[in-house]
Symmetry: C2
Subunit: 422 residues, 2 copies
C-alpha cells in the first residue's frame, strides 16, 4: 500500500503506535519505544524520492533487544546492562534500514536470550500465559498488531516456540544464511537470526531482503502431488495432546489436499542430539560469556553462574564428540529430507503454559537448531481454550525458500479449513 | 616486574611510546594511538590497590583494528569506515581490560582483515618487505618492541603468517575457544581470535587470561622422548627452499634433542580442504558483508565486489559439500594427531616477500584454520638475508595448552642452537 501511495509510512507507524498505547499495559512487548524517533523515521521515509525506496520502504519493524541499534539502547533485558548503548547497528538491522524499514523499537527478551530474567511480555491471546521465550516481545508485538514484522534469534527454540504460542508466522533460516554479527552471542555454532510476520508472504519478503537464495526452488502450484515427511522426532514422548492433534490434523489436511505424507523415522544416532545440543550450547556459552563471568561473576543469575563455572563438568572431549555427531547428522538429515518437499514436525510440546516464570521449553526445536535446517512455524491451529499452536515445516539446509513456499501452501490450507483462525 | 613493584605501568607504557616515536615513521603499525589515553590508563593502573590487580596489570596490549574498543575508533582500515566508532568493547578486549591490560592503541590491518587496502605497516626486519597480512600491525608492533602483546584474527592465515614473517610468537587457538564477538565478521565458521607475544610464556599468559583449558596437559619435562608428527601438508609443493630448510632444521633439532619425529601423510580427502576453505570463506562472506554490499556496493574493492556478487557461481550444494568435508576431516585429523605430542608443519611458504602490495599467502595456514586446530608459530629460524621464518606446531582441537607447552620446549631449543636469533 505504501508502494502504491495508498498509505503513508507516518499513517502506518501512527496505527502501530495507537495499538501499542491501547495494549502496552497488558502485552508489554517493548523494552524501548520512542514514538518521536519512530515518527521521525516515518516522515523521512515519506519524504524520500521514489528511486530511493527499498522493498521495506516505510514499514515498521521490531528488533529483539539483544540486537544492536545505533540509535536505541540494547539491554539484553539484563539488570547489568540497563545503560548499555553501543552506537552501532547489527548487520541485520543495517540491512533492514537500507531496505527502507522503520525501526519501531526494541522487543523484550528473556535475559541474554538464554534464561534468567523473563521478559515482562504476556501472551496477547491470554495475559496469564507466556508468549514463549526468548524472543517473547518480538512474537507478541506482531501477534498483537503493534508492528508488522520483527526480528528474533534462536539458539534453542527462541524463534519457533514464541511463534507457536502467539499464533504468528516465524522463520529460522539455515544457520549463517543471515549474518549474526551484532547481537549478544550465546553459542556461536547455533545462534541464528530469525523473524516474525503476519503471513507467509511477510516471511518471504524478509528472506528476499536478507538475500536468502536456494540453488533452485521447485515450482509448487498446489499441495496436490507434493510429498511431505512426517517426523515425530526423538522427543515425541514429550508431546502433549494438543501437539499430537496439531500434527495429525495437519497431516490429514495435507492428505485431503492431495499430498503424500510419509512417516520418517530418524536413525538411532539422532537420539543423542538433544544432549549434544546441551553440551555444545553450554560449552560455547563459557567462551561467549567469559567477559560477563569475569566482570559480574556471582551476581549473574544462578543457572548461568553454574554453566559458566562448568558445574556439569563437561569436558573438551564431550564437546568434540557432540560437535562431530552434530556434523555427521547434518549431512545425514539432508539426505533423508531431500526425498520430500518438506518435513512436518511439532513446533512445541503444546500450547503456551501459564507464565511468566514458565516460558515453555525448546524440546521440539533444539535438534533443528543443531542441524542448522530452515524452520517455519505455520500458525492457524488451536488447542485447549482456543489457544494457538503451530506446526513446523523443515527440510535440508539451504532449502529455505523451498520450505517457505511449501509453508505458504500449507498455511493457505489451514486458513481455508479453519476459518476461525484466519 | 610490575607485580614485584620493580617497574610502574607508566614507565612501561612510556618505554613503548618512546620506541613507537622512534620507529613509527618506518614501521607504521598503528591506525590509532593516543599517548595521553594510554598514559591515563597506566596511571590508573599504578594507582590501583594490590587486591584489584589482574594477571595483565599495567601491561600494554595492541588491538587489531577490526576489534571494537569503547574508547577508540575501529576503522577496519577501510576508506568507508574512517569515522566508525562503536562505543563497545569486543568480548576479548573486555577480558583484557578486566585482567588489567592497558589498551595501547589499534593496529593496522589489511582492509576488513580480508584483502583490498593494505596496512601501511612495514616489516621491522626490512622496511621494503611486508609484515604479512591481515594482522600486519599487531605482529609488527610486537616484533619491533613497540608493545608487549597484541591481538590479531585469522580466517585464512592472518595470525600465523605475520608471526612467521616478523619473527614473533603467534597463537591461533582452537576455533571458538575464545569469543569472536565484537569484531568484523568475515567467515563465521573460521574467524578465530589470536595473539602475539615475544616469548612462549607470553602466549601462555594470554591463554590463561582467556580461560583456555585442555582436558589434561601432558607434563613435558623436555623434548627427550617426545613424539612429533612431521606433516608437509597437501600444499608442500608450494614451499620455497627457506620453508623446506626451516622444517628440516627443526626436525633435526628435535631428533638431536631426543624426540622422535615421524612423517605424517594426510589422507587423500584432505587434498580437497584448500578448495573447501575457499568455498566456505567466500560463501560466508556473502552473509557477513551483505550490509556493506548493499550500502557501499561497487565502491568496495573489486575483488570483494566479485566475491559478494558470487562471480565464481558457488552453489549452496558446493558450500554444504565443503562444510561436510571439513567436518569429517576435523574428526579424522584429531584421531591422526592424537598419536603425537604435536604436529610440525610450515608456517609460510617462505620469508616475507617484498611489499606492500604482496602480503604473502595463507597457503600453509588455511587447512589448519578450517580444521579448527590450535596453531603456534615458533620463531627463531632465519632464511635468505637473515629474514625470519617460523614453523608451526599444531595438534588436535582443544589441545591448546599441550601445543603451547610443546612449542615452548621447541622454542628453547631453537634459541639455544641459533643464538643469533635469541
Amino acid at each position: 500500500m505504501i508502494a502504491r501511495g495508498e498509505i503513508t509510512s507516518r499513517a502506518l507507524v501512527d496505527a502501530c503506535l495507537e495499538r501499542w498505547r491501547a495494549r502496552d499495559a497488558v502485552v508489554r512487548a517493548w523494552t524501548f519505544l520512542d514514538p518521536e524517533l519512530a515518527l521521525a523515521q516515518a516522515d523521512a521515509a515519506d519524504a524520500a524520492p521514489a528511486e530511493a525506496r527499498g522493498p521495506l520502504h516505510g514499514v515498521p519493524v521490531g528488533i529483539k533487544d539483544i540486537l544492536y541499534t545505533r540509535d536505541m539502547p540494547t539491554s539484553f533485558n539484563s539488570p547489568h546492562f540497563q545503560n548499555h548503548f553501543p552506537k552501532i547497528d547489527a548487520a541485520s538491522v543495517a540491512v533492514l534500514r537500507q531496505a527502507g524499514a522503520i525501526i519501531l523499537g526494541k522487543n523484550d527478551t528473556v535475559e541474554f536470550a538464554v534464561n534468567g530474567r523473563r521478559a515482562a511480555t504476556t501472551n496477547p491471546h491470554d495475559a496469564a500465559r507466556t508468549p514463549g521465550g526468548s524472543s517473547s516481545g518480538s512474537a507478541a508485538a506482531v501477534a498483537d498488531g503493534q508492528v508488522l514484522l520483527s526480528l528474533g534469534t534462536q539458539t534453542g527454540g527462541s524463534v519457533i516456540r514464541p511463534a507457536s504460542y502467539c499464533g504468528v508466522w516465524g522463520f529460522k533460516p539455515t544457520w549463517n544464511a543471515v549474518s549474526h554479527e551484532g547481537f549478544k552471542v550465546c553459542a556461536a555454532s547455533f545462534d541464528t537470526l530469525g523473524w516474525y510476520g503476519r503471513t507467509a508472504g511477510d516471511l518471504e519478503l524478509l528472506a528476499e531482503v536478507f538475500g536468502i537464495r536456494d540453488d533452485a526452488v521447485p515450482a509448487f502450484a498446489s499441495l496436490d502431488g507434493m510429498r511431505f515427511g512426517l517426523c515425530r522426532s526423538p522427543v515425541w514422548h514429550q508431546a502433549e495432546e494438543s501437539a499430537r492433534e496439531a500434527l495429525s490434523t495437519t497431516a490429514e489436511m495435507l492428505r485431503n489436499a492431495g499430498a503424500e505424507v510419509v512417516e520418517v523415522d530418524l536413525p538411532a544416532t539422532f537420539d543423542g542430539l538433544t544432549n549434544a545440543h546441551k553440551v555444545i550450547m553450554q560449552s560455547e556459552m563459557r567462551s561467549a560469556f567469559l567477559p560477563e563471568h569475569r566482570l559480574i561473576g556471582k551476581d549473574l543469575y544462578p543457572e548461568l553462574v553454574g554453566i559458566l563455572a562448568n558445574e556439569a563438568r563437561q569436558t573438551r572431549a564431550d564437546l568434540l564428540a557432540a560437535q562431530d555427531l552434530a556434523a555427521s547428522c547434518r549431512a545425514e538429515f539432508d539426505a533423508i529430507a531431500a526425498e520430500y518437499d518438506a518435513i512436518l514436525t511439532p513446533s512445541t510440546a503444546g500450547v503456551a503454559p501459564l507464565g511468566p516464570e514458565n516460558t515453555g521449553a525448546a524440546t521440539f526445536n533444539r535438534i533443528w537448531t543443531l542441524l542448522h535446517t530452515p524452520c517455519v512455524n505455520v500458525p492457524g491451529l488451536t488447542g485447549p481454550e482456543g489457544l494457538p499452536i503451530g506446526v513446523t515445516l523443515t527440510g535440508p539446509r539451504f532449502r529455505d525458500r523451498q520450505i517457505l513456499a511449501a509453508s505458504a501452501l500449507l498455511g493457505r490450507e489451514v486458513t481455508a479449513k479453519l476459518p476461525q483462525a484466519a
